[in-house]
């Protein structure tokens, strides 16, 4: 005991010194994180308990902003629209992206070129994409209705109809982001071992069985990653919706982000807008936790 205590004392001092000197190196990162993440966050929380419109004085109102939000029909509709949009904009690209990855995983002529072509939408700027789709959706002059007329279908109102607007917007998202899912899944497929397939084939498994019982479980972790990325993207979608419909017709495609933008930058209601941000943050956090949980589960299986 005594043998170890004597040398330990200076050693402990040395460690403490070392720890101190390391702490200093963290400081810049801490300052940056504090300034650009923690402070704005706390400031948003602080603003959300004030009734504050730019151009007039701020009054402390406690949780009133939150209370009014929770009974605000328009806000609740915006939450519903957000979930509806997100669900479609995650699931459809996942299905199509996986299918595309399966196709592009096979050997066929010009595969490289076609893969390149397939991922081209991803490289386009969202606002430009949105503007082009706006023209295509136009009920009189748009190319989509022209295409429908070619196959003898009646014209559709697309984004000009309150019921079709969200599915139509999802079409844009699907076109734009399916390639991303395809890329991720393709990466997963490339890493798969070939042995299970060979032995399954020997046992007489069909193509569907191969996919269902071997491929799918093995690429599941990749699908979850794709789902996480897509969910984050879909939740925060703003540019596409803002440019194409501005939340309309009426409020039929108004998502939380659009509502937030209106409150903050059109109505200048800083207090309400901050409360919306906080609620939105809670929703994102809850979804992220849910997806992480799913991810853990897929790892275990």
């Amino acid at each position: 005991m005594s043998m170890t205590v004597t040398p330990a004392a200076p050693r402990a001092g040395f460690l403490a010194r070392r720890r101190r000197s390391y702490r200093l190196f963290i400081a810049p990162a801490l300052v940056v994180i504090g300034a650009v993440i923690v402070f704005p966050w706390l400031f948003t929380l602080w603003m959300s308990v004030f009734d504050w419109k730019i151009g007039s004085a701020a009054h402390f109102v406690g949780l009133e902003n939150y209370e009014t939000l929770l009974v605000n029909r328009r806000f609740i509709e915006a939450v519903v629209h957000t979930f509806y949009f997100t669900a479609l904009a995650v699931v459809v690209p996942l299905l199509l992206g996986t299918a595309a990855a399966m196709i592009f995983h096979r050997e066929f002529p010009f595969r490289g070129v076609l893969r390149g072509v397939f991922i081209m939408p991803m490289m386009a700027t969202p606002v430009a994409v949105a503007l082009v789709w706006t023209m295509m959706f136009h009920p009189q002059q748009g190319v989509l209705n022209y295409l429908l007329s070619l196959v003898g279908l009646p014209p559709s109102l697309w984004v000009y109809s309150p019921t079709l607007v969200i599915p139509s917007l999802v079409m844009v998202e699907v076109w734009h982001w399916t390639p991303l899912v395809m890329l991720i899944v393709l990466g997963g497929l490339a890493a798969l071992p070939t042995e299970p397939y060979e032995s399954a084939r020997l046992d007489g498994a069909t193509e569907w069985q191969l996919f269902r019982f071997i491929t799918l479980p093995l690429v599941a972790p990749f699908l979850v990653v794709a789902a996480v990325i897509r969910t984050i993207d879909a939740l925060k979608t703003f540019d596409t919706i803002y440019v194409i419909t501005g939340g309309g017709p009426g409020t039929a495609s108004e998502t939380i982000n659009l509502y937030l933008y209106l409150q903050a930058f059109a109505f200048y209601n800083i207090g309400t807008a901050s409360a919306v941000v906080v609620v939105f943050f809670v929703i994102v956090l809850a979804l992220a936790l849910l997806l992480l949980h799913v991810r853990e589960k897929t790892k275990w299986s």
């Binding site: 007039s56 009189q140 014209p155 309309g248 017709p249 009426g250 109505f267």
Partner: protein, 454 residues
């Protein structure tokens, strides 16, 4: 490069204009016209702020383009440098509010839209009262001719407490553009009442040929003035001045909303609920709509053969009388000096220049908007150098006389437009007009009350 091109372009035009102005002055038609040419020699010292520099904050519009094109003229005349920033309307408004609110502005002069910003700017006293400047003979050009500004324009520029914190620049009365060819083909005359508008729309509507009887903005927010054009004619209004209550769900409001609803949902194009002015314009340009209700500033594209299929066939109609009154709903723009500016003298010179007779006439000439100076119209009647059709100028003159603000003069205008815009869009999609207006009024009343209390 772009700058140089602009100047090359502006050179001959300016000379032509000065000639026109001088010609008119020689005939004694416009008192004080040709002021630009004359003022340099007059007693008034335009050069007193020589060497200073001011920042001007404009929004992207034909008016903003016009002023920017002639800034060199102001610089030559005064020796004051002009730095100008011109960005799209919505961003310009946001930036202005944020800068004013911070208590320090990067600009000295700002262009504002009265129908959106007047009350907010006025309540916060963000712009300098120009009356003391106007009274100071040493910095006010004797040729300013304040009486020349139209009553409608001055009503826009004057705040409820009497302060005049800007000079008006243009007004934008709403009119009905109509396709004469379509009207003639069916032997329909230009309507003389609201009921006749509906009749005409019904007769001219021909979905089989893809022709709509009537088109106007259906997109939320943008659509509100299209409704108020009817609201004012039905004898309705926005806010009861005696008690601050909204009048937007009374009988006149419902009657006018039903007219709007009928015209757009029955005789409008498919998907009109998503139409802003540009969609409506492109439909009308292609000869696919018989009537189009919007602001007067669209003559230029309609008469441009490169864009329009109906050049020479466009009729410019004054808003017909409603059951109670004949009113043209109107927007307006002006320019004011930031209260935080340290260069109020040079800025005041800029304001006088921007709203002078020559620039006002140029605006008419370029069909960039409706001037607020009466002299511009008088000059237009004798000028041979105006491309815009005569009927357009006459329509503008008549409309300006019956014009009233097309939006309430309140701080939360954007919320008003948003909430009532949604109600109108819902009506186009089949909702009941009275119910929607009641809902919107109930939703907006507390917002209005709060803004007036603050």
């Amino acid at each position: 490069m772009a700058d140089r091109d602009d100047h090359n372009e502006s050179g001959p035009q300016r000379r032509r204009l000065l000639q026109a102005g001088l010609g008119a002055a020689a005939l004694g038609v416009i008192p004080g016209a040709g002021q630009l040419a004359a003022s340099a020699q007059a007693a008034f010292d335009w050069k007193r702020f020589k060497g200073e520099k001011i920042e001007v904050f404009l929004n992207k519009s034909p008016r903003g383009d016009l002023l920017t094109r002639f800034h060199k003229e102001f610089e030559d005349m005064t020796g004051i440098g002009v730095g100008s920033e011109m960005i799209p309307e919505q961003q310009q408004r946001q930036k202005a509010v944020i800068e004013f609110n911070s208590g320090n502005t990067s600009f000295d002069v700002i262009a504002l839209s009265y129908h959106v910003q007047k009350r907010m700017f006025g309540k916060n006293k963000w712009m300098e009262d120009v009356r003391p400047l106007m009274a100071d003979k040493s910095i006010t050009d004797p040729n300013l001719d304040f009486a020349d500004f139209s009553k409608g324009g001055m009503a826009w520029a004057t705040q409820p407490d009497g302060r005049i914190d800007s000079l008006p620049f243009n007004i934008d009365p709403w009119v009905i553009y109509y396709n004469k060819e379509l009207f003639d083909a069916k032997g329909v005359a230009y309507p003389k009442s609201f009921a006749e508008i509906i009749d005409a729309a019904a007769k001219l509507n021909d979905p089989a040929k893809g022709i709509s009887g009537f088109v106007a903005r259906g997109l939320k927010n943008a659509n509100v003035p299209a409704w108020t054009s009817f609201l004012l004619g039905c004898g309705g209004g926005f806010v009861d001045a005696t008690n601050g209550r909204l009048m937007t769900d009374n009988a006149a409001a419902v009657e006018s909303a039903k007219i709007y609803q009928t015209l757009l949902s029955k005789y409008g194009p498919q998907g009109v609920a998503g139409y802003n002015w540009n969609e409506a314009q492109s439909l009308f340009l292609q000869g696919k709509a018989a009537m189009w209700l919007d602001g007067i500033g669209f003559a230029q594209p309609l008469e441009d053969p490169a864009k329009s299929r109906i050049v020479g066939k466009v009729g410019y109609g004054v808003m017909p009388p409603g059951p109670k009154a004949q009113v043209s709903a109107m927007f307006g723009d002006g320019e004011g000096i930031s209260s935080f500016s340290k260069k109020k003298g040079p800025s005041w010179l800029y304001l006088q220049w921007a709203s002078n007779k020559a620039n006002q006439f140029r605006m008419l000439q370029a069909a960039a908007g409706a001037p607020v100076r009466n002299s511009a119209y008088i000059a237009a009647q004798t000028s041979t150098d105006i491309k815009a059709p005569r009927q357009w100028i006459e329509c503008m003159l008549t409309s300006a006389r019956i014009a009233q603000p097309g939006l309430p003069i309140i701080v939360p205008v954007t919320e008003f437009r948003d909430i009532f815009g949604i109600a109108l869009t819902n009506m186009i999609n089949g909702a009941d007009a009275a119910t929607e207006l009641r809902k919107a009024t109930a939703e907006f009343q507390p917002i209005l009350d709060k803004s007036e209390k603050a």
